[in-house]
Symmetry: C2
DNA sequence: CAGTGGTCTAGACCACTGA
DNA sequence: CAGTGGTCTAGACCACTGA
């Protein structure tokens, strides 16, 4: 067993859960019991179990204890480029609707940028609002692309090879504009995916997608060294 | 500022980093300085900054200090269903090669299972080894599917709508079989993606993909409530 | 070799919630 | 109302590594 004590405790439980020895709904020992079993302080036990709770592998309730989590009802893998395929796989009709298109001319501080606003829909219901900036110089042809047939993301994936990408996921309250686009109340919770993509060190696109929280849920469980 | 103190400290730095106030390479205050600034114990500062380091937003080096991380060189978004598109987007030729196909007949304990082994390649180079089990009853037609043209994942995505999925990512050492398949040394580090997919409560497929670690890197940065 | 972060301890007070 | 987890303290020793 390499690594730190809290790593070892965490790995112990990951192993027991992933192997099925501990099944969904099973109760884990209390922190007190684990302190005694591993001969360590409570903070160390807590540090071991916290990431498992954050990753959704276990659920912790005060007074009741700690339990192996049941698989979530609605889940979706982090999959930004092929939203269309994901929706199709659910047996729904996917569409992208362009809402706004602005070409910002180049100036001293930055090169020309195409600004695109749109919404992804599943069976006509808004699924995600998308705000995107594209560096026009790095994506030749995008000014004349037809986004009625293909979303900007799909167009870029097909036309501009990227080499580096960075994704951030956050939760946020719907702004007034997002609320209108998505047909939810202002302040409703949204799942936001912000992504920056580079090609050979040059920024290609910057996109922010806001998903209706109860229509989508992202799940990604990380194991050791995740 | 809602939530706990360590949440507040973490949010402070997330905000300053995402806004660009703190640029890549910039040094953050030491834990000692932050203890004084926030009037708290060192553990609390540490608890605030640890997740940022785990998420790759900052880098910490003993003696040197804490710095805003530079974007990683090679990265890829969690995107299991459309590996083919990802590889194509990098300007490489994608292929799936089937290595083994076994039909396990139904018995008392479980229904019929199709076991598929294969390898995903980019420009002919092995990228990921895939081991997959498919519940034959839930995926009618899969017994006669041709995986020379389409990977099992793509076939399933097109033919069997799924409703729930769960993904786990871990690092593991290559087994002898994986090493042979991928053309790496036994024990070489692999990035493993294990995924279970359900349809209406019934398990459809169980897949384990092992990526050559230096050919692929998964990056997903999580913000607050991630 | 001194500064910095990594881990861990042994406690404390509190919030929540099920028996 | 008692058990459980959530947070936090004030310290300790150590590992690493750059000045």
């Amino acid at each position: 067993m390499n690594g730190t004590l809290h790593d070892r405790i965490r790995t112990d439980f990951e192993t027991r859960i992933l192997s099925g020895e501990l099944a969904p709904g099973d109760r884990l020992p209390t922190e007190q019991a684990l302190m005694a079993h591993y001969g360590c302080a409570r903070m160390t036990v807590h540090k071991a179990l916290s990431p498992l709770a954050a990753a959704g592998l276990i659920e912790r309730r005060r007074k009741a204890g700690t339990f192996v989590a049941r698989p979530r009802a609605h889940s979706m893998v982090l999959d930004i480029p092929d939203l269309a395929a994901e929706v199709a796989a659910r047996g729904q009709a996917y569409a992208y609707r362009l809402l706004g298109r602005t070409l910002r001319a180049a100036d001293a501080s930055q090169s020309a940028m195409l600004e695109l606003d749109g919404v992804h829909t599943a069976d006509g219901r808004p699924l995600a609002a998308e705000h995107r900036l594209v560096a026009a110089a790095v994506a030749p042809g995008i000014e004349t692309a037809d986004f009625a047939r293909q979303s900007p993301g799909a167009w870029l994936l097909a036309h501009v090879p990227w080499s580096e990408a960075e994704t951030r996921i956050t939760a946020a309250a719907a702004t007034a504009a997002e609320a209108t686009t998505l047909g939810v109340a202002k302040g409703a919770p949204l799942l936001c995916v912000a992504r920056r993509t580079w090609r050979a060190g040059r920024l290609v696109t910057l996109v922010r997608q806001a998903f209706v929280a109860d229509a989508y849920e992202l799940v990604a469980r990380f194991g050791p060294r995740g």
